[in-house]
């Protein structure tokens, strides 16, 4: 015989003012299974909890209903309470007679009491079917994976490694460094980006706990928190990293020139190359798409000149699989395609460029050796026009969101134009100037007041070429008049967008992304670095537009989450998950595609049928991945899948009880 104890809380007068708690407790005595029922002023307080524990012992109760506030408030409290009273924590149900009853029906005590009674009745019917559930544990593999070797990935890796854990950094490009390596100076301090980045690159490369896996991509991810099995494709570098000394002779002798991606195609690189001088590893890679040897079978100069015989044309992609306890996604961002804005002529006029192009023009090791020169003819521009919000804050043509960093980098660019070019003019077309951040607004104020950049509130409607000038038409909406500027160069503050292949990685790992393909945090306020997938964390602009300090802060936060996980030998799992009734499951697989966590697969079992051993497929729930949503239980027509603690039987019992 099941013996249910019902405990009705007054919550001071929060409940009892609108609900006759004594009557509810009295009514509950007649419900099937109820052995004991009482009410008390504050159930969650120490004496209230003692009352429950005492009743469990004295009344030999084996399951408990607490009628009080929302279970979202005190379910953990009462679970602990009955656990210390000797019952399994999951033999508790709560009837929410405060938020869902007394607080919303303050003026009708009679009907509020009827409703409270009904809610208790449903809870009793459910708890009669509750089963003791046991939290199990899963082992934690003490190794972390950071995907992406930009500043966010580097910071996360360093923090994890400094805490004493092994971490692998997988970077798609031949070198770590990411976007920050392309940036010339950083706002608001105007210190050189490379000067602060490269020491960190060296640190991470030399760290005994860090393995850099460059020129590599994630191929497959299986498993779950604590135990991700990740297959990494190490792309053929065509250079033996162990043998290569990085002397650079091969690069010098290579006869093939192609536009350098790192230099935004404003300068050439060779077919065998390192993306930039401070690259790590500072050893070249052959771009097989443009290499003469791979295209025609002729050449092979690099191999001939290599003093250590490190060039290996026969190298093939290599697949390695490693197990990780936690994953940090730090895959960064791409730039919006500005050619969408035909009126700006990006892609048509050589001197209409993006902010990242401008960074390279500013950089001492860039295509112009740090002199601001026009890409078209190398002339030093006198009038430079900046246009903000290109691709951002524009639902019609671009993205609805604010790209966040553009206001500041445009202010930086305008400052540098004024600083580097004598008698120059910097015009900035803007919709708003957004400068929250330490020292940011002060920087912007200096840009306008001290450096004299001319800010014009309004959008540009057209840019066209006239002689060697770019005529910029816009409107000054503050003065309400059209503006025409004869510019030598136009810089577009291009929006940050998610990586083109962002969704692919998210699908592989099994976490979610938003409509813009930025990765979705588990909670926008309280879990900003977690994903919905346990053990997977986010750092940097892959989650949304961010500047460097924010990326670094988020990376460190993600690292702490990883360390918290890796510091444990094993972790407890929530027992409210789906379970398969193997006898019933027909293996149709309808449950597989509805699971958002790829927690269900089909496995083959063997059984005896009429004296013969036959095998058949059945659904198999991975308890490490299942989060207990119950989607599979409805997809399963024969109810072979059931969700523990929210079983079909329990829900039917609640429905039935409501109408008894």
């Amino acid at each position: 015989m099941k013996r249910v104890g019902v405990f009705v809380c007054h919550c001071g007068t929060n409940i009892s003012a609108a609900v006759d708690c004594e009557k509810v407790a009295e009514n509950a005595k007649s419900f099937p299974g109820v052995a004991y029922s009482t009410d008390y002023k504050y159930m969650c307080a120490e004496p209230g909890q003692e009352l429950i524990k005492k009743a469990i012992k004295e009344q030999k109760l084996d399951r408990i209903v607490v009628a009080s506030c929302s279970p979202r408030m005190h379910e953990p409290t009462f679970r602990r309470c009955i656990e210390s009273g000797g019952l399994n924590a999951y033999l508790l149900e709560m009837a929410n007679i405060r938020e869902h009853c007394s607080w919303v029906h303050p003026d009708d005590k009679e009907r509020a009491t009827i409703k409270a009674t009904d809610l208790v009745k449903m809870a009793v019917a459910k708890v009669m079917q509750n089963e003791a559930l046991v939290r199990s544990t899963i082992p934690i593999t003490k190794r972390a994976l950071v995907i992406g070797g930009g500043i966010a990935g580097i910071q996360a890796a360093l923090d994890i490694a400094n805490a004493g854990h092994i971490v692998d950094v997988v970077e798609k490009e031949p070198s770590i460094g990411g976007r920050m390596a392309q940036v010339d100076k950083t706002f608001p301090t105007l210190d050189c980006s490379a000067c602060i980045l490269t020491p960190k690159m060296v640190d991470v490369a030399n760290h005994p706990n860090v393995n850099l896996i460059t020129y590599s991509e994630i191929e497959k991810v299986e498993g779950y928190v604590g135990n991700f099995d990740v297959t990494i494709r190490k792309k053929a570098r065509s250079v033996d990293l162990k043998a290569c000394t990085g002397c650079g002779t091969c690069i010098q002798k290579c006869p093939t020139k192609v536009p350098s991606e790192f230099e935004m195609e404003m300068m050439d690189r060779k077919a065998i190359f390192t993306p930039f001088p401070q690259a790590i590893p500072n050893k070249p890679v052959i771009d097989r798409e443009s290499c003469r040897y791979f295209k025609s079978g002729k050449c092979g100069v690099c191999q001939k000149v290599c003093p250590t015989n490190a060039v290996d044309f026969t190298q093939e992609d290599e697949l390695v699989t490693e197990r990780y306890g936690a994953i940090v996604a730090a895959t960064g961002f791409d730039l919006f395609d500005d050619s969408v804005y035909g009126e700006y002529g990006y892609g048509k006029y050589k001197d209409v460029i993006t902010g990242l192009h401008f960074e390279r023009l500013l950089n001492a090791s860039g295509p112009t050796m740090g002199k601001i020169k026009r890409p078209s003819d190398g002339k030093i521009p006198q009038n430079v026009v900046f246009i903000k919000c290109v691709g951002s804050r524009d639902e019609a043509k671009g993205k609805a969101y604010c790209s966040k960093t553009c206001c500041m980098y445009t202010a930086k660019h305008a400052t540098l134009v004024r600083e580097k070019i004598k008698d120059s003019n910097a015009y900035v077309f803007y919709m708003d100037v957004r400068t929250p951040g330490k020292g940011y607004d002060e920087f912007y104020t200096r840009t306008t007041d001290q450096y004299g950049a001319k800010y014009i509130r309004g959008r540009v409607s057209k840019i066209y070429e006239k002689g060697d000038k770019l005529i910029v038409w816009g409107e000054d909406t503050l003065l309400g008049r059209p503006v025409e500027i004869e510019a030598d160069m136009v810089v577009l503050a291009t929006a940050m967008v998610a990586k083109a292949d962002a969704a692919k990685l998210a699908q592989m790992v099994g976490f979610s992304y938003d409509q813009n393909n930025f990765y979705t945090e588990a909670h926008p306020k309280l879990a900003p670095v977690e994903t919905h997938t346990a053990g997977v964390f986010l750092a940097g602009a892959c989650q949304g537009p961010k500047d460097i300090p924010e990326s670094v802060a988020q990376a460190s936060a993600a690292a702490v989450k990883v360390c918290g996980l890796l510091s444990k030998e094993e972790m407890p799992t929530e027992p409210i998950i789906s379970a398969v009734n193997e006898a019933i499951c027909s293996g149709c697989g309808m449950c597989v595609p509805v699971c958002p966590y790829t927690a269900i697969d089909l496995k083959v079992i063997q059984e005896r049928v009429h004296g013969k051993t036959v095998s058949r497929k059945i659904a198999n729930v991975n308890s490490g991945l299942c989060q207990g949503c119950g989607a599979c239980t409805v997809a399963c027509r024969s109810a072979a899948l059931n969700l523990k603690h929210f079983t079909n039987e329990q829900i039917l019992a609640e429905v039935d009880a409501l109408c008894l």
Binding site: A583, I584, C585, S586, G587, C588, G589, M590, P593, V594, L602, V609, H610, K612, V614, R616, K617, A635, R637, S638, A639, A640, N648, E649, L652
Partner: protein
């Protein structure tokens, strides 16, 4: 003996003699002239039992489920609807393709059995409703094909829009009229579950209606329980019904079950885009995936 019957017997004999399959599932003449029940032929000398006529209604693919644990291969004749049923079961992973030899037959549409029984032999019989509604008279999958291949392509090219006028007629009623209509229908239900047993979309090892312990449904045969049964079954075959009409044919109480199934087929097509079950076995099922841009009515 019709040309097709002859071809069927020949190929069945060949398959059995060569040992391509251990059993051939086809149709034979039954107790009455308007019945052509399934025949299971495992000896070459028995092939003359096989027939092809206007009453070969039974969807033979479902029988393959019973042979799931049988070691040898089975050969089975498939009309258009039978082939969709085969795909349906394949998609539900209830049969192994490599264990089945499919012999495709082009189907001109079969005659209404009930009318045959009522009007007698030599009367002018109408086609069965499911055949009037049929969009796929030719088999979609087969290893052997007994008809004219060119005709096959011709017919495939002229797929007409489905006719939902019978569903629309019910939709046009008032809610109370609809409720009374269906109550009258399902008050007749004796819950024999013949509709389920014959259905190629019903392949659960244990049907929810048999799970007395869980208590999905009571034993009582009353309007309420019968309606629970009808609605639940309709939802369970939603997006999976291949419109073979076997449920309705098997129903001893003449309940127009296909009117429920067709309603769901119609709504699925309207809401989630064109979809016919049992055509593409790789495709996602309407209730097995979603589109972020699905119609929004629940704001």
């Amino acid at each position: 003996m019709s040309e097709m019957t002859k071809k069927m017997q020949e190929i069945a004999r060949e398959i059995l003699v060569k040992g391509e399959a251990e059993v051939v599932i086809g149709w034979e003449k039954g107790t009455f002239w308007y019945l052509s029940p399934p025949a299971f032929i495992d000896k070459p000398e028995d092939v003359q039992r096989l027939v092809w006529d206007d009453f070969c209604h039974n969807n033979l693919s479902k029988y393959l489920v019973d042979l799931k644990n049988h070691e040898g291969k089975a050969a089975v004749f498939v009309k258009g609807c039978d082939s969709r049923a085969f795909n349906r079961l394949l998609q539900d992973k209830q049969i192994a393709r490599e264990k089945v030899v499919l012999i495709g037959i082009p189907c001109p549409g079969l005659l209404d059995q009930d009318k045959a029984k009522e009007l007698g032999k030599n009367s002018d019989l109408p086609k069965a409703q499911k055949c009037l509604d049929c969009q796929y008279p030719n088999p979609l999958v087969y290893d052997y094909y007994l008809g004219d291949k060119e005709a096959l392509n011709e017919v495939a090219a002229t797929k007409e829009a489905a006719d939902y006028s019978d569903v629309a007629a019910i939709e046009a009623m008032s809610p109370d009229e609809r409720y009374d209509f269906w109550t009258k229908q399902y008050d007749r239900c004796i819950r024999c579950y013949a509709c389920r047993n014959v259905c190629p979309a019903c392949s659960c090892r244990e049907c929810v209606f048999d799970q007395t312990r869980v208590g999905w449904i009571g034993k009582a045969n009353n309007s309420s329980e019968n309606q629970f049964f009808a609605l639940t079954r309709a939802m369970h075959v939603a997006g999976r019904c291949i419109e073979c009409g076997e449920c309705e044919r098997a129903c001893p109480m003449d309940i127009p079950i296909m009117l429920l199934n067709k309603k769901l087929v119609k709504d699925i097509n309207e809401l989630f885009g064109e979809y016919d079950a049992g055509i593409d076995i790789e495709g996602k099922l309407p209730l097995g995936h979603f589109d972020k841009n699905d119609p929004e009515e629940f704001m």
